[in-house]
């Protein structure tokens, strides 16, 4: 007997995500409705600005998947982000038409995915693991920054598009889907809705993934590699698949980024930017897909507020926040709050009903 609720949400629920109740889904629906209505009450500028934070949220989600679920700490998500952003720029400017922009999207995501696959193949099939993966991804990021920064010369022109070195690549078109005459272009509020949709679809897709068979294998690899290998899983393959998928998601985020600002430069490979996904995901809770997104929006909003007031303290505050979370709340803020809320609600229920609490989890994420 399956209830309609279970048929609708069952496959999205499981021990690998928090928020497995009607209350959670109802809360999420309300939150999404509010988020969707947001551009109607604020200016196009504010909506576009919030869209930036949300597309960063997608980048955070890619790290949540790779680090939180499969236990692979990658400082290189920004590499795939940057590769996709640059590729989107090169292809869309070269082709120059709306159809070209449409085609540039899958090409850019594919390039990021392939780069992630190659890097992942060399690492995981070379039996590199743990802190070494983190170091190698960090080094790749640093080298990419050096590389892109020296592409100012004319020899670094792909088709008609110069890579531009430090000055970056201007003139990247807005995101658009369709052909000439029958196209939808995204900017301002519509871009915001596009990013929101992509974010929600990715979130639900990842919930399906992590609560499915492969998700269990991923989490098992994180918890105990040797045991999973004994059980007959190829842990290298599991890690490579997750890493590649994470690269693709980061790439999608990079495409959105390049079209958001119509611009990309080597600072996407800088140490400062490479830090950010790790900060967001650690603070929000790396084993929670939504936690990273919420933390991303909150931290980026805060950083922007400080930057507007001309304060130099933003980075110090972010660094200190990260340090405090790692030392005091290693699971991250969202899972911590969730655990406390569940404990509180179930504690009351136990007092009230005098029966042991079921293993259902509590309220909202």
């Amino acid at each position: 007997m399956t209830s309609p609720y279970e048929r609708l949400f069952g496959r999205f629920e499981g021990p690998n995500t928090i928020g497995n109740t009607r209350v959670f889904w109802a809360g999420l629906t309300v939150a999404l409705a509010l988020a969707a209505a947001y551009p109607l009450v604020v200016s196009a500028y504010t909506a576009g600005n919030t869209a930036l934070f949300m597309l960063y949220g997608l980048l955070a989600m890619s790290l949540s998947l790779v680090w939180g679920y499969a236990g692979v700490l990658s400082f290189g998500q920004v590499v795939f982000f940057g590769f996709a952003g640059y590729t989107f720029g090169i292809v869309s400017i070269n082709l120059g038409s709306t159809l070209g922009v449409t085609m540039a999207i899958p090409v850019a995501v594919l390039v990021a995915t392939v780069v992630a696959f190659l890097l992942g193949y060399f690492m995981f099939y070379g039996d590199v693991s743990g802190v070494f993966v983190a170091i190698i991804t960090l080094v790749v990021t640093l080298v990419m920054q050096t590389f892109m920064a020296q592409t100012a010369g004319d020899e670094w022109t792909i088709g008609e598009v110069p890579l531009g070195g430090f000055n970056g690549m201007p003139g990247i078109p807005n995101l658009a889907v369709g052909t000439e005459g029958a196209a939808v272009s995204f900017s301002g509020a519509s871009f915001y809705w596009l990013v929101l949709t992509i974010l929600v679809v990715s979130y639900l897709g990842l919930r399906l993934l992590v609560n499915g068979r492969f998700g269990y294998a991923m989490v098992a690899v994180r918890e105990d590699e040797d045991r999973v290998e004994m059980l007959g899983y190829d842990i290298r393959r599991v890690k490579l698949v997750v890493f590649t998928l994470g690269g693709g998601l980061a790439g999608l985020s990079g495409v959105l980024y390049a079209s958001w600002g119509n611009y990309i430069d080597p600072s996407v490979y800088s140490l400062a930017f490479a830090t950010l996904p790790v900060v967001w995901v650690t603070v929000g809770g790396r084993e929670s897909l939504l936690g990273g997104v919420l933390a991303t929006v909150a931290i980026e909003w805060f950083r922007q507020q400080l930057a507007i007031t001309g304060s130099a303290w933003a980075t110090v505050v972010v660094g200190t926040l990260l340090l405090i979370v790692v030392l005091a709340l290693p699971e991250g803020i969202v899972p911590f709050v969730h655990r406390k809320t569940v404990g509180f609600v179930e504690g009351r229920r136990m007092v009230g009903e005098d029966t042991p609490a079921a293993d259902r989890e509590g309220t909202a994420e």
């Binding site: 039996d127 170091i135 640093l142 080298v143 972010v318 990260l322």
Partner: protein, 294 residues
């Protein structure tokens, strides 16, 4: 003929840079399993201490110990307050030290501004044909060798070294045998910090002193530690030698950027084909030879 001499100087330069950039990181990682992602900032603090002392009127020879001391004190404080809580969580210790590095860079910028006036390279230069080499940079390669030798003596020939290595190998047993493991960790982290500070102090005259200067050491340091393998000092020496040669060769022919790419490429190959790193490979060969001889 001239090219060989040129290459030799470039090799010495690369060797010194890789060894000095890596040694502090390598000791902390090899002995404690902690990757100090604030390593670049430790180097930066060493350089700042030295430069500030020099600009205040101290001679260079006195300024260098000031930088080393500043970094050591900072390292000890951070070990006591932060790093020690994370010994059993290696990935979290990376994130925490990353956070420290972030805050340190920006704090330095807030306190000291965007740059300090630099010291200038001492000791003049030697001429060879159309080339000229800074004596100071040549001197650095002998300092690198001296640091390696000193670290080797400290960790293999002294009471402290034996206790420290016992702690690394089996902390519980070492503790039962009367080793104060807590103190061993603190002292080892202090030594690693001091060496990072020394690197910053030594390179301070050759670089522009900016808050982000530490990151220019990171690629070489991490690559050396990753390719060096489990045996820290042997690994760092081999990485310095091998990667230094590659770097020098390619920099010499194609320029510094290609030199760095070649360095990375070779590092990836080493990782792919020698999973235990350079020191692991050398030790494997040595064991095989010993087995054949008996």
């Amino acid at each position: 003929m001239v090219n060989v001499v040129n290459l030799l100087f470039q090799f010495l330069d690369s060797f010194a840079f890789i060894v000095l950039a890596a040694i502090g990181l390598a000791i902390i990682f090899g002995m404690m399993g902690v990757i100090n992602l604030a390593h670049g900032e430790f180097i930066m603090v060493g350089a700042y201490g030295t430069t500030l002392a020099y600009n205040a009127g101290a001679p260079l020879l006195l300024s260098i110990p000031v930088g080393v001391l500043a970094t050591t004190v900072m390292g000890l404080v951070l070990e006591r307050s932060v790093v020690r809580r994370l010994y059993d969580r290696p990935l979290d210790s990376m994130v925490a030290t990353f956070a420290l590095g972030l805050a340190l860079t920006q704090l330095t910028r807030i306190v000291f501004g965007n740059s300090l006036s630099s010291i200038g390279i001492p000791l003049g230069s030697v001429q060879y044909g159309q080339f000229s080499y800074s004596m100071y940079r040549v001197l650095l390669s002998s300092v690198a060798l001296a640091v390696l030798a000193a670290a080797y003596v400290v960790f293999t020939r002294t009471e402290f070294g034996i206790r420290a290595r016992a702690t690394i190998q089996d902390a519980d047993t070492a503790s039962a045998m009367g080793v104060e493991t807590d103190r061993m960790y603190t002292v080892t982290f202090g030594i690693g910090s001091a060496l990072a500070g020394l690197t910053g102090a030594l390179y301070a005259p050759t670089m522009s002193i900016v808050p982000g200067m530490g990151s220019s050491f990171l690629v070489e340091a991490f690559v050396a530690v990753v390719t060096g393998g489990a045996s820290v000092l042997l690994g760092t020496t081999l990485a310095g030698g091998g990667l230094g040669l590659v770097n020098a060769l390619f920099s010499n022919v194609y320029g510094t950027f290609i030199g760095q790419i070649a360095l990375l490429f070779v590092a990836v190959l080493i990782l792919r084909f020698l999973p235990n790193g350079l020191s692991g490979a050398v030790e494997g060969v040595r064991e095989r030879m010993e087995r054949e001889n008996t």
